[in-house]
Amino acid sequence: MTDARVLHATLDLLDRQLLDRDGILCGNVDDLEIDRDETTGEVYVTALLTGPGILAYRLGARRLGRWTQRANRRIHDDDVPGVLEDRTRIPIELAGQIGPSISVAVGAKDLASHDAERWTLRHIIAHIPGNSSRAPQ
């Protein structure tokens, strides 16, 4: 039997690069969600948090962080299929290899990290005459 893995949150998890299921860079770990069981007293890390507003909240700009998260939800195109209930929250069981980067079993499109880029591409860049790129369908 192997020893259980020991990690330090700020050293081994925070700010690590996230790789999606296809190995595409899809953001960084901006914060962790921690759940405390009032009955047993046990505490667990339940999710990796990433995306617009999360880092601002962590750095103390909590109002700006919440506002950014709300604004990002408004620009998110709902026709993009997603597997996550909250696009800034990756359940910890979906985290795979943890090293210099952390692989997660979701697609980059399931995360909020690039919503602003996607929105800009679809609603602005794609409509500029002479634009040779095509907005994602």
Partner: protein, 106 residues
Amino acid sequence: MRLSDLLHYTVRDSDGIELGRVSDVRIVQDGRILRGVQAAFRVDALVVGRGGVAERLGYMRARVNGPWLVRVLLTRFEQRAHVIEVDQIDHWDDDAAVITLRAGRR
């Protein structure tokens, strides 16, 4: 709760003496099996105080002994740090961001 919230908590012993602020969290992956895939990430201990770097590098409780110069320097840091196992926590005051330890623990 977010980790960034927890890093603002102050830890006090049962007599109300302040030990410091949470500087890191030690996690052990030995919890219940999640979705049949892997063990849950249990928070095993809080690193409290400014000597957190010594704990991360393995210099707390003499787990690493050398090189001697690093050991001497980090042992001095260690004296300013506490590793508080979660089962030593008596009370979480989320409003005041204060964690109080059980009696007999320092």
